[in-house]
């Protein structure tokens, strides 16, 4: 166990009471318990309130652009497979702008922990609908409510053979910390969606709203996370009861293993010698 103070980042710009704070606490505790030193972790983010997360943790950081955390993180893993890589994204960032990258990354299965902060609203741009906003949810742009149902990111993940799928709740820090630890320890893509209330813009899906609905799925008598069909049902469950915990485990080879050159470690450490006379041979 490393001291949690070791992960102290810069002062945050989040609203008081933001659901991101308990996530930050749980994440730092998870790193401390896993004894991953700041210099050995890289947190990649996109744009949104969630994407400020790596600045508030002491770690290597690549704060990229909206929706593009996954491609940048994949590139990082393919250059240095020794790095522990975590992506923090928001529901708009990952499920909206970055949707195509999410689909492709499910297939690739790089060893990345993808944390999607889901507050069902756009915070940074002040209260517009997100891909996970409920049907009928009213916003300044949709005063009559969002006309269609939300995207089910976890169901998509199960359907596309994501190798680890889970959901946490910012209101249950210890439970969330354990999920962070499992997701980081998982070898392959781990999608951890975290219900994280926006106290400023989402007056519907509040801490209380989530508290009344979430239940620990691992306590269900039929808990069976290696069963795809069971996992799919749990991933789709959204209403009076919302499951949190590990929903799907589907271990499979990671993307990085398909490159022999990466078995020799980080690219930056490898000698490069390519005699031009040899390169020209094909052209005589």
């Amino acid at each position: 166990m490393l001291p949690i103070e070791m992960y102290q980042g810069i002062e945050s710009a989040w609203c008081p009471g933001c659901g991101n704070f308990p996530m930050l606490k749980a994440f730092k505790q998870a790193l401390a318990e896993l004894e991953i030193r700041p210099e050995n972790i890289l947190v990649v983010s996109g744009i949104g309130q969630s994407s400020k997360f790596p600045h508030y943790v002491k770690c290597n950081t690549f704060n990229s652009i909206h929706g593009r955390g996954l491609p940048a993180a994949t590139g990082c893993r393919l250059a240095n497979p020794n790095l522990t890589v975590v992506v923090t994204a928001g529901d708009g960032d990952q499920y909206g702008e970055g949707g195509n990258h999410l689909l492709a990354t499910f297939r690739r299965n790089p060893d990345i922990t993808l944390v999607v902060h889901n507050n069902q609203v756009y915070g940074l741009t002040k209260g517009q609908a997100s891909p996970t906003s409920e049907q009928g949810y009213q916003t300044p742009i949709q005063p009559k409510g969002v006309p269609y149902p939300p995207l089910h990111g976890l169901a998509l993940a199960v359907a596309q053979d994501c190798s680890w799928v889970g959901r946490g709740f910012a209101g249950m820090v210890d439970h969330l910390k354990e999920l962070y630890k499992q997701a980081i320890n998982h070898r392959g893509l781990a999608l951890l969606e975290v219900l994280q209330p926006c106290v400023t813009f989402n007056k519907v899906n509040t801490f209380k709203w989530y508290q009344e609905r979430v239940y620990k799925v691992e306590e269900s008598p039929d808990y069976d996370p290696e069963n795809e069909l069971w996992a799919y049902q749990k991933a789709k469950e959204w209403g009076p009861r919302i499951p949190i915990g590990v929903i799907y485990k589907n271990p499979r080879p990671i993307f990085e293993e398909s490159f022999a050159v990466l078995a020799e470690g980080p690219l930056a450490r490898q000698e490069i010698e390519r005699p031009i006379s040899k390169l020209l041979e094909d052209f005589y």
Partner: protein
Amino acid sequence: MTIDLNILIGGAAGQGVHSISAPLGKALVRHGAHVFTIQDYQSRIRGGHLFNVIRVSDAPLSSPRLGVDILVALNQETLDLHREEVSPEGIVIYDASQVKETPEGIKSLALSPDTVLPDTEAGDIAVNAGACGAILGLVNVPVAGLVSLLEETFGAKGEEVVGWNRQAAQNGHKMGKDKGHPFSLADIAKPAQPRLLIAGHEAMALGALAAGLNFISGYPMTPWTSLFTAVSQRALEWGVVVEQAEDEIAAMGMAVGASFAGARAMTGTSGGGFCLMTETVGLAAMTETPLVCVVAMRPGPSTGLPTRTSQGDLEFVLFAGQDDSPRALLAPGTPAQGYALTVKAFDLAERYQIPVFILTDQFFADSQVTCTAKDFPAVKVESAVVFGPSEGAYERYAITESGVSPRRLPGFGPELVVADSDEHTPDGHLTEDLEVRIAMHDKRLRKLKGLVQELDGVTVAGREDAGLTLLCWGSSFGPVKETLDRLQQENTPVRMVHLSELWPFPKDAVTKALQNAEKIIGVEGNATGQLNRLLRQETGITADRLILKYDGRPFTPEYILRELKGQI
């Protein structure tokens, strides 16, 4: 130049135009000839009309030209479209199983699977290898070289296929020889050093590998794909990580991520793909991440003419992205420049921590040019990354005089590397301190001052006292050079200035090259003279007249000479 022979091989996509032209070009170079080839194709997988032209000479070639001496028609359409181009002393070789009308009023040679390789199932192989052999027979070159090439190429396909190729080449050679030798290459001397035949994108692939490339990501798009493929085919041998991304946004995002974590990374695209990459141009500049990006231009706007050539994206690539951001822009004109400038692109990207763009086009990408090993000098790969313990707290974006901050990699020591697309403090964290903003923006742009000192790329040829200067850039080098050579042969004094390093604009070198020019004519493959606008913006000099071409086909000396009529 005593020999100047144009061989056009045409047919439908899938018929084997490349199966004829690839071994033929190589065999002629091995024989000692100078070869220049172009490809002209449509955006389809089967059918349509495509052709390759192989120009052959006893002297160095830098350009295609008009006219056909030997026409190989694999179908009726090729004959109908190109018959008029064949010179009176020329000859038509045609696949008699496909071409229904025997060409009239011109020497011709009919081939078909039944006449070249009777009683076999060789099919297209008979006609393709047979045509190769027939052409060598016509130009009085022994067939042995072609036979060994076909054996090298098809060895993996088994003895039967190799045997068909060998026999068809020999039979075709005899059929060609029997027509006499309207064109003879028999007197061409073998060069002291073997020559090689290489296309622009292939030369760039070698440049990238020589420069230490170990990561490439891309999304297929013509004409960029040929470079992506040329690297990928060599990736296993040389330890390069290759990923075909889900889109160009991801392709460039991955390359930036890989570079941030220590790879020597490259990406590339064409036209519409670069529209998608534009957001990442700013990211690379803001996070100060080295990146080499190739933009293989094609006519637009939008999807435009996917398989044709253009020089229309100079301004797009120069200005793509938000606000002012540092970048370098290179545009090779020959395979040798393609190799050298790719090496230079990696070096500049690494040392200045910026995106470096290389502009190419279909003409440059696919045209094969005869070169020697001297065109490809050895490269020493040097990294500008800092390893080892730091003195004091490490700041990824430390303010420096040069604008370049010491670059470390994440995960190689206790120093944390923090990069941000937001405006940021020297230690990489997002900030809205506007004083810091000004300091950081100035720091990034200061890199251009050092960078411009390293650029030149001005090639001047012709007579210094000539009244006329032809100004061109990128792939137009060859056709302009041949125009110059032809005019000089007629004792018409003319000069050319070619630019291959376009941003930051090498003002001093360009001004020096143009300051005494009486009359400047710009030659550009776009509709409005984009280089000329840049020239005027940067130096105040402007061309007196422009020769433009934007029909999707490359310049030829004939086109430029026609446009020059009355100007000299």
